[in-house]
Amino acid sequence: MTAESRPAGDDPRRLLSDVRELAGRVRRDQRLTHVALLVLAAVTFVAIPFDWLFMQVDCDGSGCVFARRGLLYYWPPALLIAYAAIAVRYVRAARARGLGARVLPYAITGAATAVVFTAAYTAAAAYFPTHPPFDGGPLPFWWFALDRLIAPWGLIGLALLVLARLERNVALLLFALGYLALVVLVLPTTDGMNLPGWAVPSFLSGTEMQIRLSMTPSQLIIGAVLLAGGIAFAKVRRGQR
């Protein structure tokens, strides 16, 4: 662009394409996708010991009952702190570049997910012990999918969809959809994953320990996926600058 005025009859296609190009450049400069993903990866990894330590497992002759209290103690404040940290980082980085930030709706969505999770977890813990779903019979797959969607890892994916929309970031949209498919349809995030005997060290044997251990692989995989995504988006950003 030049500083001089051009005739009003300037090529409209070129004008429109300039407008789109400039808007696209601003969007790219405002993005800090890798920071969001790296913070969420860190939060996911830190959750693992909380889940392990605060899980209540009661076993008797008829079987075992477990309650993941660590999820309730850890995730609501962790989500609130994580989304606040992400928002502050976005605003500071944008300001340093001379831009406003578009992160507020994402941070609000993130905070809302903390509330949704807390409400769903508390309601389920109060209601289902006396009213087992489907009369205690086998649960359909959609039930598991819904359960995984309103767990912290599913809610992280939903909030990422909001971020993708705000940033008009197609790569993040694809990442978020893939991530959601993984945590809702593939990984048994809420019901545990049985590990083969050879993968379990002898000091972790025993039914109670097996139950605690069964919740860890899913969280490790989710943390690794978020971490890999964060690193990939950081590399792409570095390449663009």
Partner: protein, 116 residues
């Protein structure tokens, strides 16, 4: 012509509805960046539009006089900074300009002769 363009008359050629204040390339660029950024600093605009400070100031002054942007001057530490935000009229004017440009492109494409 004012920034608050009226609804275009469908029978009129779209070029008659173009606002000279907004249609100028640099000013259109300023509005586009400010709309996308919500709030933009003078230095960012200068870099992105590849303008001298004097030229950018002139264009900003035209837009501010037309009521399309707000200019806010302040300090960050010892460094003076100028922030630009789009007014509601500016947002409306930008949307109107883009609508008219699209209309113009459609009109050009539909009235093209086969020889072209």
């Amino acid at each position: 012509m004012t920034a608050d363009a009226d609804t275009p008359d469908p029978s009129a050629h779209p070029v008659t509805g173009l606002d000279e204040v907004v249609h100028q390339r640099v000013r259109l660029g300023i509005l586009a960046i400010t709309h996308e950024a919500r709030r933009v600093e003078f230095g960012y605009l200068r870099t992105q539009l590849d303008l001298t400070a004097g030229n950018l100031s002139k264009h900003l002054s035209v837009l501010e006089t037309a009521g399309l942007i707000d200019v806010e001057k302040g300090y960050e530490g010892r460094r003076g900074r100028t922030w630009i935000t789009l007014t509601t009229a500016g947002s409306h004017a930008l949307a109107e300009e883009i609508k008219r440009l699209k209309l113009l492109i459609t009109q050009i494409e539909t009235t093209r002769t086969p020889e072209e």
